[in-house]
């Protein structure tokens, strides 16, 4: 007979209708601005810039190498490279971005900039409430808005941040080894060349030690 | 001028408009529309004569119009399906180009 399935379906929707008034468990939605579901760790939407230490201007990991700018498919990144070099968080002299803008209205959250960055300077954020009254300016994020501390990165993506820090520390360790070897070689050469001159202690080495300790704590 | 002649004049005008359309248009559908218009002008005459003529209680004019509307509907249905069939054959509804029997 035609219509059995219709009656069954109608009964089901009626059960849902009345059930949702009786049983709060049935309601699967949350009332968003007041109630929020906990974010899962893999959440990611727009990129931000990581800095080490306390001062965001000094500690930016970005060396304005323009790789992310070139790789960005919708071309939403704009970088202006500095003329001079400043010491970074490690103390090494580096170029730094004078301007680093991301147009969030253009960004498509593809994460390619994160993947190509050799310095682990750009990472994905979880902030999504970015709406603004200003249609063009409000969505063009400058360096100051993009810079977020490494602690923040640890907070939003703990596993990933720990892995990044470990890799960075390992790199620095290697570099330290290399520098040590280089220094040793240089010292040996120097010793061989001029035995009279005394070996000065390499200042950069101690600095690296201090900052890497600070980072991992 | 009596009210009846007003209606009759209107009907005559509609008939002439329909006739001119049926004679001058080349699209078969529009020719059919012109013929419908002429039919309707005649219907208006029937209703006007029923309203102002003798013996309205016999409802002759009304009945005539009801049947006429029925026939017009049938005519429109058959006519339009003929046009669709012709279109399928000739790929056009232009009456000047459908001249197979002209010799």
């Amino acid at each position: 007979m035609l219509g059995n399935g219709i009656i069954k379906g109608l009964a089901e929707t009626a059960r849902n209708f009345f059930g949702s008034y009786v049983d709060k468990e049935r309601l699967t939605t949350v009332q968003f601005p007041e109630e929020r579901l906990p974010q899962i760790e893999g959440t990611r939407d727009f990129p931000f810039l990581v800095y080490d230490g306390d001062d965001w201007e000094k500690g930016l990991r970005c060396v304005s190498c323009h790789i992310c700018e070139k790789e960005c498919p919708p071309k939403c990144i704009f970088i202006e490279k500095s003329k001079d070099k400043k010491p970074d968080a490690v103390g090494k002299l580096q170029f730094y971005p004078v301007r680093f803008d991301i147009d969030v209205s253009v960004c498509m959250s593809c994460q390619i900039c994160v993947e190509v960055c050799p310095f682990d300077a750009i990472k994905m954020d979880v902030e999504f409430e970015l709406s603004s009254d200003d249609r063009f300016g409000g969505l063009l994020h400058h360096k100051d808005k993009l810079a977020k501390s490494n602690e923040y990165y640890h907070k939003i993506h703990p596993t990933e941040a720990a892995a990044v820090d470990a890799a960075l520390a390992e790199d620095r360790e290697k570099e330290k080894e290399k520098q040590k070897q280089a220094a040793a070689a240089a010292a040996a050469a120097a010793a061989a060349k001029a035995a009279a001159a005394a070996n000065p202690p390499p200042a950069a080495e101690t600095n690296t030690d201090a900052s890497s300790k600070e980072e991992t704590k | 001028m009596s009210p009846l002649s007003g209606y009759l004049l209107l009907s005559a005008l509609l008939f002439s408009i329909g006739l001119s359309g049926a004679l001058t248009r080349r699209n078969a559908i529009l020719v059919l529309i012109g013929i419908e218009l002429m039919l309707n002008a005649a219907n208006l005459n029937f209703i006007a004569f029923w309203r102002y003529g003798p013996h309205p209680e016999m409802l002759t004019g009304v009945m005539f119009v009801i049947f006429s509307i029925g026939i017009a509907a049938a005519e429109a249905a058959v006519g339009l399906s003929i046009i669709v069939a012709v279109y399928r054959h000739f790929r056009t509804t232009d009456l000047d180009k459908i001249n197979f029997l002209k010799g």
């Binding site: - | 001028m1 009759l8 002439s16 408009i17 009945m63 026939i71 049938a74 399928r88």
Partner: protein, 167 residues
């Protein structure tokens, strides 16, 4: 010659004239619908309620839609629908129509004597129409029924697409 008559007559003439003169075939059908609606309103004004509403139902609801469907199914490949014939055929057609109108108008103005006309508004209730259909006009009704059935079948047969046709 009341105001309502003039208004409705203007609508009917406007619709009819537009239907016969516009370029686009769909516009023509829409204008025809306007004219038919005006005619239906004239029937209502004359007291023939059933006929007026039937006119509306048949012409606005059925014939206009049928014509529109036919236009959609027969759109010429070159794009817009064809307009008018050649200038000579237009002029001769318009002259013929004008001549017919002149003859009709002459007949109307000379033929009617106002004494024969009745002024009272006659009644054509649905019940009376129905009784008349079932008693005096039962044979025409049957014939119309047969005709409509034949038209239905015929239209279907004509419009149906043969299997393996040239499509």
């Amino acid at each position: 010659m009341t105001l309502s008559f003039l208004l409705l007559a203007a609508i009917a003439i406007l619709g009819a004239a537009a239907a016969m003169n516009l370029k686009n075939a769909v516009h023509c059908v829409l204008a025809l619908t306007l004219g038919m609606a005006g005619l239906a309103a004239l029937y209502l004004q004359l007291g023939a309620q059933f006929v007026g509403l039937t006119q509306l139902l048949v012409y606005v609801g059925a014939v206009a839609i049928l014509a529109v469907f036919a236009i959609m199914l027969t759109r010429s490949r070159t794009g817009e629908t064809v307009a008018h014939g050649s200038a000579s055929s237009r002029i001769s057609g318009a002259l013929t129509a004008l001549l017919v109108f002149a003859v009709l108008a002459w007949a109307i103005f000379t033929g009617i004597s106002p004494q024969q006309l009745s002024g009272a508004q006659p009644e054509a209730s649905v019940r009376e129409v129905g009784v008349a259909l079932m008693q005096r006009f039962v044979l025409p009704l049957e014939i119309i029924g047969v005709l409509l059935t034949a038209a239905l079948i015929g239209a279907g047969v004509l419009a149906i697409e043969e299997k393996g046709g040239d499509r």
